[in-house]
């Protein structure tokens, strides 16, 4: 890591002490690097002259592990990359495999997927808002956010059996029908959620200290943001109107009415506003999904790929054979390659899947939004104060599990 030594150009030569700058290690154990990010800062007093993010402390090898797993087992692993948005990971992977197979989930499954994705976006943004506010010093918002997140996680637990890593989406549909009364519970949450967002805004949006800490801080221009591959709210905060849900719709998103919030100032404040408005837009999608949920099956009619119903498996010969074949040797996917991108809470989450015709993927590469967004961080922070670094990290909303994969 040759770049980590003090930059001779920023050092003072001639008269006076030579070492004017100091290398400050922020992380991997630091309260506000959101996991195990390590930032190497070259500071002059409190001013950051250079920054170098150092990643890899949470390397899991998930991409490599995929190559040894059946396609249906891969969904479980996908959950564990971006641990704040497991449903989005599942969605990306499942859609990619479905495209390779040339099948499509039935409408009801697609709508429930959208519903869960938007609930997940809400819960992910809640973690972002809570930790971001905490980083800036507003402590109470954190606990309010986690109160609502708890409600969302309970909904996930009810439908998927787990609070976070639900493993609920399947290639060709969903694992199970939602339990009785579940949609009513979602409705109840969704009806109160607009007020809750107002509550957060009361604490932060109008607060002069919060505005001073965020306005004009960690600015990134439209051109830089595009060039560095930023996506999601971090990109829309810089004035680029780009949302995959609207511009490259998947899973019936084209049937929903929602706005794509865009701000032009490109600072922490803009990214904050974008996400705050996304809370409301996501909740609108949740309500639309609840109102227009189609009836019908939740699994595609593809017996060689989708596991049969339990009772059929117990009573019908063919169903038993398919069940046995899928569980023991997986389902083979036609040779080919596909790139499927979806809009995760952090931005463009893409799955590049290569199949060689067997039941296990030949190669899976994930285009994680956090990694690309992190690349923008030095641009945002250099020349600013240490306190701004903390605000900037919060504003790009990175998840280290997804960066290191």
């Amino acid at each position: 890591m040759a770049q980590l030594v003090t930059n001779p150009e920023t050092q003072h030569h001639g008269e006076g002490p030579k070492d004017r700058t100091m290398i400050l290690n922020m992380g991997p154990q630091h309260p506000s690097t959101h996991g195990v990010l390590r930032l190497v800062l070259e500071v002059d007093g409190e001013t950051v002259l250079r920054m170098m993010p150092d990643i890899g402390y949470l390397h899991t090898g998930i991409e490599k592990t995929y190559e040894a797993k059946f396609y249906q087992q891969c969904v479980t692993l996908a959950d564990r990359m971006d641990y704040l948005a497991p449903f989005h990971n599942e969605m990306g992977f499942v859609l990619a495999v479905e495209r390779l197979l040339g099948i499509e989930a039935p409408p009801r499954a697609q709508w429930i997927r959208v519903l869960l994705n938007e609930l997940q976006r809400i819960s992910s943004h809640l973690v972002w808002l809570g930790t971001h506010a905490l980083d800036i010093g507003a402590m109470s918002v954190f606990l309010y956010c986690f109160r609502e997140r708890e409600d969302v996680l309970r909904l996930f637990e009810a439908i998927g059996g787990q609070r976070m890593f639900t493993d609920y989406f399947r290639v060709g549909g969903l694992a199970l029908e939602a339990p009785l009364g579940w949609f009513k519970r979602v409705k109840k949450f969704s009806d109160t959620f607009f007020e809750r967002v107002d509550e957060y805004e009361d604490l932060l949006t109008g607060n002069p200290i919060f505005q001073e800490r965020t306005k004009g801080v960690a600015h990134i221009s439209k051109e830089d943001a595009t060039a560095l591959g930023l996506s999601g709210p971090s990109l829309r905060g810089s004035g680029v109107d780009w949302d995959l849900r609207r511009d490259m719709p998947y899973s019936s998103y084209e049937k929903f009415q929602f706005g794509v919030p865009v701000e032009t100032s490109g600072d922490v404040w803009a990214r904050y506003l974008v996400r705050m408005r996304e809370f409301r837009e996501s909740n609108k999608i949740v309500q639309q999904a609840l109102a227009g949920l189609p009836e019908g099956p939740i699994k595609a009619d593809a017996p060689k790929i989708v596991l049969p119903e339990r009772d059929k498996m117990k009573t019908q010969m063919e169903a038993l054979i398919y069940h046995f074949k899928i569980v023991t040797e997986g389902f083979s996917v036609p040779a080919g390659e596909v790139y499927q991108a979806i809009e995760s809470p952090r931005g463009e989450l893409g799955f590049y899947v290569v199949s060689d015709g067997t039941a296990k993927p030949y190669r899976v590469h994930v285009r994680g939004p956090s990694l690309a967004n992190l690349q923008g961080l030095p641009k945002m922070c250099e020349g600013r104060l240490i306190a701004d670094v903390v605000a900037a990290i919060g504003s790009i909303d990175i998840v280290l599990g997804e960066i290191d994969r």
Binding site: M22, L24, N25, H30, P31, S32, G45, E46, A133, L134, D135, I136, G137, A138, M139, S140, L143, Y144, R147, L203, L204, N207, I209, F210, E212, R213, L385, I386, A387, D388, V390
Partner: protein, 340 residues
């Protein structure tokens, strides 16, 4: 009064003041945790004793029993001296603070104050200024980057806000014509509190802000900004040494709260009635209530506001509070000069 009796009374008063102050510090920590918890929709400590009332005791015990770690890279003499300096200075300030008129026990008339000095206010300001040394030395002796940054922030912040704090008091001093806290309180007797009677509400506002900064509390808690500097100047401290900084911070909170009560809120002034014993107790009660009110504001603000940034803090202190305090002095002296 014979010398032996004099010394006895002084020792007893010091012991009581220390005990009350330290217990109050411990229970303010509990009160803060409880109140903040309720503001944030949770319970706070509930496990140790009924409603968690024995939590401070458990915390204290924990601090005493913990291993006293001294990292190998520190400069030991100053590393050990810094927390002691902080705590000693914080506790000393309470010596000149009166909490009521006086009580008569037997033939002795005992003022409710450890010592009545006629320059009490200057002593307190001096002690809080020297208190910066504790923090600055802790950061320097820790030999750690986060500690250093924390102590640099603390020193800069406390020195800047000391000015605004000192200047905000001058209006009160002009009105009272004395440095003695007892005199200042007496000059406010009969609801003539400085806060409104001499129009010192601007000074009170400046004092309030500067006091928050002096005691490193939200929204001016930059020296120990957890999310930026881990724990600031006390990053490398543990066990009792950390507890000393902790107690010092809360003792300082009490000092500024007492000072605010004495200088702006009429001290122990308030309605007094009833039998003789009640006449003695009530003023002390009013005093304590006002201090608690002030501390509650501290806690309330901690539950609400985000933190300033270093440069914003400096700008706020030098460009806003200082001119405001100066303008207040000018106007107060003009008014007093013209009406006198």
């Amino acid at each position: 009064m014979p010398l032996s009796q004099y010394i006895l009374i002084a020792v007893v008063k010091i012991a009581i003041a220390l005990f009350v102050l330290l217990t109050a510090c411990a229970y303010v920590v509990l009160a803060e945790r409880k109140l903040i918890a309720r503001m944030q929709n949770r319970w706070g400590p509930t496990r140790v004793g009924p409603f968690g009332f024995l939590q401070p005791l458990a915390d204290g015990l924990k601090f005493i029993l913990k291993e006293d770690l001294i990292p190998s890279h520190v400069y030991k003499p100053l590393y050990i001296a810094a927390p002691m300096l902080s705590l000693t200075l914080a506790l000393t300030a309470i010596a000149v603070i009166p909490i009521g008129q006086s009580v008569t026990i037997g033939n002795a008339n005992i003022p409710l104050q450890i010592t009545d000095v006629n320059i009490a206010l200057l002593i307190i300001l001096g002690l809080t200024s020297v208190g910066v040394y504790g923090i600055a030395l802790a950061g320097w002796a820790s030999n750690s980057k986060y500690s250093l940054l924390g102590s640099l922030r603390a020193s800069a912040q406390m020195i800047s806000y000391e000015l605004a704090l000192g200047l905000s008091l001058i209006g009160v001093l002009i009105g009272a014509g004395s440095f003695s806290l007892r005199e200042i309180v007496n000059s406010q007797a009969g609801w003539h509190w400085n806060l409104w009677y001499r129009g010192q509400f601007v000074a009170f506002f400046v004092y309030l802000m500067a006091a928050f900064a002096e005691t490193n509390r939200v929204p001016f808690d930059l020296p120990e900004a957890e999310t930026e500097l881990v724990a600031g100047y006390h990053t490398e401290y543990s066990a009792m040494k950390f507890a000393m900084f902790f107690v010092a911070e809360y003792a300082n909170m009490f000092t500024v709260a007492c000072l605010a009560t004495l200088l702006f809120l009429g001290g122990w002034d308030g309605p007094v009635f009833g039998p003789a014993w009640l006449m003695v107790v009530l003023p002390v009660l009013w005093f304590v209530l006002k201090v608690i009110l002030f501390i509650f504001v501290y806690i309330w603000i901690r539950g609400t506001l985000p933190r300033f940034r270093y440069d914003q803090l400096m700008a706020f202190g030098w460009k806003f509070l200082l001119p405001l305090a100066l303008a207040n002095i000018l106007i107060t002296s003009l008014v007093i000069g013209l009406t006198a």
